[in-house]
Structure formats: C-alpha cells, structure tokens
Amino acid sequence: MVSLAAGLPLLDRPARVTIADPDLELAERFRAGERAAFDAIVRRHQKGMWRLVRRYVKRDADAADVTQLAFVRAFRGLATFRGTASVRSWLYRIAINCALSWLRDHRREQPSELAEDALTDDNPAPAQLSAGDDRAWLRKAIEQLPPKQKLVLELRVFDDLSFKEVAELAECSENTAKVNFHYAVKRLRDILGADHAP
C-alpha cells in the first residue's frame, strides 16, 4: 500500500506512518485538508475520551465540556502532530491535561461520589456486599493506589491501551509501565483482601 505521506513536503511527514493504524491515515487526510477526517476521529474516540475524562471530572456535563475542549485543542494541534506516538495516546494526553487543568480551576466544586465512611472498619466485609457495593468497594480501592499506579492500571484496564501506549501517556518506558501495572494489581489485591474476595 502506498504511503499517504508520499506526496507531502518533508516537513509535513510524520516520523512514522503505519497505514495499519487507521487513526494515522485519518490524521494524514486531515492534514491534507480533508475536514471530514477529523469528524471520523471524533466518532472513533469521543467515547473513550469521555470515559477517561469522567474518571477525573465527577459531573457528567462537566466531563462532556472537558471532552469537547480536548477535541477543540486536538483539532488545532493535529496539523503539527508528528506521529511519534499513536493518535489515540496523543488525544488521551490532551484529554488528561484538559481534565487536570479543569480540576485546578474547579477544585472546590468537585462532588464526592462515595460517602466518606464507605470503607471504614465498621463496614461489612466484601463477601457480604451487594453487587453495587462491590463496585463501589473496587472503585474506592483503586482510588487508594499511588497516582502513577492508578493511572497505569486505569489506562490498561478501562481504556484497553497497550503497554506501549500506556508508557507514552504515563511518560515512562514500557518496562516501567509493566512494573507499575504489576504493583498496582498487587496492591489492589492487598487492599481488597484476596481471602475476602467474593
């Protein structure tokens, strides 16, 4: 298959073009002036972006606003996208930055989804929890992970990113991403108490 970048000036070519990645093909078409290619990118990634943002921003409407803002920034920056990372991890990085920025600006407005005493010693053991409680228990356990381990675990489990993409987003090596993932799982098992798992 012929590279779409073949006819473009040298400066405009991404560092790596893998036609197997449909996102890169869409990005190339957008850079060549095809506006509709961006709409296709939005359709492919808006759900994942929203879910990612929603883990930071606790209100649905705010998460939608932040997701939209992230796409606007991506639209402006896609022309200079170098292709050194995958389009998805590039978009997710923008989304995380937008979410963190939004959190800084709205620190006091964030609601707490779980009650403060949700996981105190007085609460029932996980084996006795209902399905809804179990979900809350799992989410609360994830919240207790160190930030880097939490980020790696969530990107891997909830966003289905490869270790390579996780490493790009967490700004570390692929091996470090694997190590963080291992320790996140290990710690999560410690928190949840493997013996009490339902």
Partner: protein
C-alpha cells in the same frame, strides 16, 4: 536474585493481561515457570479474576448523547482546517519586513576601516656573539680602508673636529686695525674665505 524474581512477577502480570505484548523469550520464560510452579498458576488465576472484576465495572456516570457531542465539537472548531504555522502566509509579511530592514541597516550602517591583522611574529634567531678579540674595537674608515682601532683611540679621533683649523669668531682681529691683512699669507686667506662661505650657508 530478588531482582530476577521481581522481574518475573512483573512479567507474570503482564502475561496474564497481554500475552501478545511480551517477547517470545519472555513468554517462554513465564510459561516454563507456570509449568513447574503450581503457586504461580494460582497467582495467575487470582490476577486474572481481579482484572476481570475490574473490567466488568460499568463506566462511571451516564454517557452523553454522542451525536450531539459530535455536532457541538464540529460547531466549536468550524470548517477551516488549520494549517501549521510554516504553511501559513500570515507570518511572511513581518518576516519580509524584518529582512528588508536588516538589509538596509547592513548597507547604511557605518563600518570601521578594514584592519589588517598583523601576521604572527616569528622569533628571529639571535646574532651570534661577536668574537672575544673584537670586543671594544671600533671600525673606522681611514684613507679608503677600514681600520679597527681601540675605543679610546677612536673617541680621540672622533673628538678631533675637522673644522678645528678654522678660526673662531673670538679669535678674529678687530676690524679697526686692518694692517694685519697685509701680513696674511695665501693659506690664511683661503681659510678665511672658506669660513665666510660656510657662514653664508649656515
């Protein structure tokens, strides 16, 4: 040893969650370990169960209307595809203005005269010392030949003024009594004439 064990644990977790992302050697290592260690197999099963529970968690919040979100994003960004800065024409005007101004300044600006940088000085070999016997000898030109004389003698010779034979002004006789003129011989008259000629020149 502990590091190796920790490394294999990490590979175990990565193996459970993404066997395709391990290299062939890593995969073989983990599988060999699983084959010989029942504990490792139990660990794998526990990790797989936990990851399954995590993946079964429903997404947080209520998903928005995706079509509406797509439309609002399209409205927010507009229709024009942004171009990278180096492909826009807007930056050309200020750059061209600056380049022109710089060229004018280069032509108009007074520059200092061209200075020739001196060549680096090369150390000249020093003259060989004069022979011992010539120290103190002074070369004089006497009667068409060079003659080395002792410094004292040379000083005495140099001190001899060739004009010493000429009369001093104070030695002149008074003009009121001119009878002596008749007693002058030819040499004296010649000397007097030479002296007068020199006076006129001087």
């Amino acid at each position: 040893m502990r590091r190796d064990a920790a490394g294999s644990d990490e590979l175990d977790t990565a193996y459970v969650d993404g066997v395709a992302e391990l290299s062939l050697d890593e995969r073989r290592g983990v599988e060999a370990r699983l084959a010989r260690e029942p504990d490792a197999r139990a660990e794998h099963a526990a990790v797989r169960t936990l990851l399954g529970r995590l993946r079964a968690l429903p997404p947080e919040g209520r998903e928005p209307d995706w079509t509406a979100m797509e439309r609002s994003i399209r409205d927010a960004v507009g229709d024009a595809v942004p171009r990278p800065w180096w492909r826009r024409w807007t930056w050309l005007a200020p750059i061209a203005t600056l380049a022109t101004a710089a060229a004018i300044l280069f032509v108009v600006w007074p520059r200092p005269a061209l200075r020739v940088t001196p060549h680096p000085t090369v150390a000249q070999p020093t003259a060989p010392a004069a022979p011992e016997d010539s120290v103190g000898a002074v070369a004089l030109w006497l009667d068409g030949a060079q003659v080395d004389v002792e410094p004292d003698a040379a000083a005495a010779l140099i001190a001899l003024d060739p004009a010493d034979d000429e009369p001093d002004e104070v030695a002149l006789l008074p003009a009121s009594d001119l009878a002596w003129v008749d007693n002058l011989d030819d040499d004296a008259i010649a000397r007097a004439e030479r002296w007068l000629a020199r006076k006129k020149k001087g």
